[in-house]
Symmetry: C2
Subunit: 281 residues, 2 copies
């Protein structure tokens, strides 16, 4: 059986794209009345230029039980029209023991996502129940892209020669599972220095990189900092920058595709330049 | 308008109980076929000896959309039969920006819980969207009761004279909102030394204390360590220890009530002893 991140590498190679589209619909912002039809139109329009989709669970939960039906049907639609694509369930779940097992059941058996985002503030106890599903994976929230992430994530750990920060220790936790190849990290795009440092310390980890677009990360710098030495091992996610590229019900899907394609090309161009620079050395 | 924690104090005083019952049903363990009927029977049987109920969202999510209907109807039932009781929505959500707002909408408008548990690994950005609901509250996950919590929570912060640990910094974050009185902390029962230290540093914070019963925390020690100097300001939660007190479909509710009442009395006795000792000084 392939590991989840082998599937992801394969999807990225096939699609020649490291782009993940965040499916984060709010009824007030969606330009048509039907949120499910909106999601399906975004998936149909962008699937040829991306390798993954990431529904953010909060937006579905905020719509109540109707929202869960939309989530369920959106995921079914992705499986139907883009069966090789990876689905990241972004719920940032985190708990221990039978509760963590219940979250893993929900993510992998009920919602059928390929990779779930999780917190590991509670340690390995909150990671391991998710690893009972060999064909699935998790991204542990490690270094996020928002200003106040510094309150906890940036703290320097006493007594560590390398002056580890808290987010380094979260990243080290992921290394414990390196052999299983189903644990990656969420590393925001807005701190490229940290992204580069994490890539250097964790050359084989897969990174999910949000913060592109609406949150202000610069695409080329992010792609170069996030890629492994084979020019892969990451996804850049854009949500609002793609799905709300146009508020016009006539062309929102075309504009979403244009934005996704632009992002795909920016990332690929940056990686090609890096490869050319490297080959000149 | 009363703050959420004033409501909680009032419920605890009225019921003379600091006990919260965790409603964490798994269909395989529930002794009758109908999970909703099970929940309602537990609520009916225990409501006179507890002041709060805490559905753990993972267990409902693991049942899919049927599970959300059970959650919805369970909460409605609590509102109907125990309107003064507090409902804690234990989902440990955590995100930023519009996503955090969507989670707050889900917790307070869709599910109508009084207090939501959240992570603050992403900093204050993940707390503040929840504080837009003045009559509601949050418990920030601070010090948990599981062995591997040490990997992150126990790390000592470099350069802090007080040798703060990461969980201290999470607790300090809650102090920023002391005036609003709607931010409390989740502090596990299995590390009474830390519980006592956190109480000493944060005399006015409200604590949700899981880890009683199935997770092994000692009740009396926990109650004394967790109470504020007025003998309140906390909830002890027991889930499996109460709801699965009996696997017999004929008496599971009676046994659940017995366990809840026992816990209520153990806590109250411990607090009375403390008060007596204090008055002798």
């Amino acid at each position: 059986m392939h590991t989840m991140f082998e599937k992801l590498d394969s999807a990225a190679a096939t699609m020649e794209s490291f782009v993940c589209v965040g499916l984060d619909p709010t009824p007030e912002r969606v330009p048509i009345d039907d949120v499910l039809a909106f999601n399906c139109a975004i998936v149909d329009a962008t699937k040829d230029v991306v390798s993954a989709f990431k529904p953010q669970f909060a937006y579905y939960e905020a719509m109540g039980i109707d929202g869960f039906r939309i989530l369920e049907k959106t995921i079914q639609h992705i499986r139907d029209v883009a069966p090789g694509h990876v689905i990241v369930g972004d719920g940032k779940r985190g708990d221990i023991s039978t509760t963590a097992t219940a979250y893993a059941t929900a993510m992998f058996e009920i919602w059928d996502v390929d990779i779930a985002t999780i917190y590991a503030y509670q340690g390995t106890d909150s990671v391991e129940p998710f690893l009972q599903y060999p064909g699935r994976g998790v991204y542990i929230v490690c270094r996020t892209s928002n200003p106040s992430s510094r309150y906890i994530q940036d703290l320097v750990v006493d007594g560590s020669d390398a002056r580890d920060q808290v987010f380094d220790r979260v990243a080290n936790m992921a290394d414990r599972y390196a052999g299983t190849e189903n644990v990656g990290l969420v590393v925001g795009a807005t701190y490229p220095v940290d992204l580069r440092a994490l890539r250097s310390k964790h050359p084989e980890q897969h990174f999910l990189i949000p913060g592109i677009g609406a949150q202000g990360g610069v695409v080329e710098e992010t792609a170069r900092a996030g890629a492994n030495d084979r020019g892969g091992g990451f996804l850049v996610n854009s949500s609002r920058g793609i799905i709300y590229a146009s508020s016009n019900p006539e062309d929102f899907d075309i504009e979403a595709r244009n934005e996704a394609e632009k992002l795909k090309n920016q990332v690929n161009d940056a990686l090609k330049q890096t490869a050319r620079s490297a080959s000149k050395l």
